[in-house]
């Protein structure tokens, strides 16, 4: 069966971003860009399913500027078979991304679509669920375990207070949580091979998708700073402060 994996280009998780001086946006000039960590887990899961013989082909799709090719190449180096870039320099909000993915799902007809549960820039946690709504597929979000059994996929999900297991009819959508797997590193030979794998480019226009933004960011600012308090010398002093000064115990 075929798997579609979505990968997003984001500011690398080691970079501490700051708002621009005018508060219009986040300053992303000259910062390192990477594949979103949750998307990397999605690619790894697809590759593991292929290694188990469950999956025959992995298609990696990304959206955004031309440079997103780099993240698709990363996915190809990890084991995806071919890539699709939906190229645009316009802002893409999750609803627009879900609509573009739906158009690709209709063309490619994958049995499973694996996405990260959220991206570490916008922190929206929406795209997989919205793709589910648009395609009518079932969704296994925040997955920590995925097992394909015949015409169904069993997904264990990380929920508040524990774990929940669902069974979904294929085709279905899975979004990854941190503990689903630990992604491998791409080997040098695989990085070289990835350069020769096919990568097609299309656009939201060609897919017939209206990507006009629905929300506008009016301002970005740093969060309120919390001031450091005092150091206490002993447990007695700590207990005293908590009882008599802060009055919380």
């Amino acid at each position: 069966m075929k798997v579609l994996v979505a990968v997003k280009r984001v500011v690398d998780y080691n970079v501490k971003v700051r708002p621009k001086a005018d508060g219009s946006d986040v300053d992303t000039a000259n910062v390192k860009m990477s594949i979103n960590p949750f998307c990397e887990i999605a690619v790894e899961e697809a590759v593991r399913l292929k290694e188990k013989g469950v999956v025959s082909e992995i298609v990696a799709v990304s959206m955004g500027p031309k440079q997103c090719q780099e993240q698709i190449r990363t996915a190809l180096a990890l084991g995806a078979d071919r890539g699709i870039l939906v190229e645009t320099d316009a802002e893409l909000q999750p609803l627009a991304v879900a609509k573009c993915l739906k158009a690709i799902v209709e063309k490619e007809e994958p049995q499973l679509v694996i996405l990260g549960k959220q991206s570490i820039d916008g922190d929206n946690n929406q795209t997989g669920q919205m793709l589910g709504a648009l395609t009518g597929m079932g969704q296994g979000t925040f997955a920590s375990e995925v097992t394909v059994e015949g015409e169904k996929v069993k997904v264990t999900r990380e929920i508040d207070g524990g774990l929940q297991t669902l069974e979904l009819k294929l085709p279905a959508i899975v979004t990854t949580d941190l503990r689903l797997n630990e992604p491998r590193y791409a080997s040098l030979p695989n990085i070289m091979k990835a350069k020769k794998k096919p990568l097609d480019t299309t656009t939201p226009d060609e897919l017939g998708v209206d990507i006009a933004p629905r929300t506008k960011t009016l301002k970005v600012e740093p969060p309120a700073e919390r001031k450091a308090g005092v150091k206490v010398e002993s447990v007695d002093e700590l207990v005293d402060k908590l009882k008599n000064e802060a009055k919380v115990i």
Partner: protein
């Protein structure tokens, strides 16, 4: 302008995050309706009708909603939501799972995890793991929003007397089935609603050493949390994780033990009223947000702390 709030519940009880979400709704408008979608959920519906500020409770009681599968509940919310100006749900795993699906059915770009209401169409929300706060304005006719519970003080669970109306719409998408659930059983309070939290980090060195924190927590009536480092090291299960990708908490007292204070952890607890940090490394970033810091060996301090309470 009516607001539809989706109740978080387990058919028997309304979960606390619902009360914070209603508080956010009150910052937007007055006519607040609360949807309880479940199966055999009469008890939860009765409790819902007593919540302060709710004018109407909509009850969809059907087997299709028993486990609140996103595929079914999202359709119901989209059906009902057409007549509202706003649809709100708590930004819990249940809310985050279901609400974007309902939004897409309504062709709306939802706004996740708001921490403030600036205007009926404008909200503040954290991005980049809480390093940046964005003010976002929606141009959609219906605003679909999830609410970070810790950012809003809860409304009272008692004192209201809302009308209860039953909803007969049954949506069963037929693509998903519930198989099972493993919920951590504990006599301690839940992390997201606890008044006091004791959290351990990599400095705990092992899962066994967390016993010390459980003892301390039981003296304080506290919940026990952990940093991602402690979870990744396998000391404790992941549902104990506090941080941007785990639970967001804001108790009256947060005691961080052997936690260095990575950004992703701070994002999950820095709105706590009083923060105590216990760490032997005095350079640890956790001290920069702590009201009271104690630089010492936790293995000496924690047993002493427990006996002196």
């Amino acid at each position: 302008m009516s607001i539809l709030v989706i109740a978080e519940h387990d058919n028997a009880e309304i979960k606390g995050a619902t009360l914070n979400t209603i508080a956010a709704a009150k910052a937007i408008g007055d006519d607040i309706h609360l949807l309880v979608a479940g199966a055999n959920c009469a008890a939860a519906s009765e409790a819902a009708a007593k919540i302060e500020g709710v004018s109407k409770v909509l009850v969809a009681d059907n087997a299709a909603y028993e486990h609140q599968l996103a595929e079914n509940v999202a359709k119901l919310v989209a059906d009902l939501g057409k007549d509202y100006s706003h649809i709100l749900a708590p930004a819990t795993t249940t809310g985050k799972n279901m609400l974007p699906r309902a939004a897409a059915l309504l062709d709306v770009q939802p706004i996740s995890d708001i921490i403030a209401v600036e205007a009926a169409d404008t909200f503040k929300r954290p991005i980049y793991a809480g390093n940046v706060i964005a003010t976002v304005q929606s141009s959609d006719t219906i605003k679909v929003v999830t609410v970070r519970a810790t950012a809003f003080d809860p409304v009272a669970a008692e004192g209201g007397s809302a009308a209860v109306e039953s909803v007969t719409i049954v949506e069963d998408a037929g693509v998903s089935t519930f198989v099972g659930e493993e919920l951590a059983a504990s006599d301690r309070p839940e992390l997201t609603s606890a008044r006091v939290i004791v959290s351990g980090g990599r400095g705990m060195q092992s899962g066994e050493n967390f016993e010390m924190l459980y003892k301390l927590a039981d003296k304080l009536g506290a919940a026990v949390g952990a940093s991602r480092a402690a979870v990744d090291a396998g000391f404790v299960p992941n549902d104990m994780q506090v941080g941007q990708t785990g639970k967001i908490v804001a108790p009256d007292l947060y005691i961080a033990v052997g936690i260095s204070g990575a950004i992703q952890h701070l994002a999950g607890m820095k709105d706590s009223k009083v923060i105590v940090a216990i760490n032997k490394d005095e350079e640890a970033p956790i001290f920069s947000v702590a009201d009271y810091g104690l630089v010492d060996d936790l293995f000496k301090v924690i047993p002493e702390f427990e006996t002196k309470l």
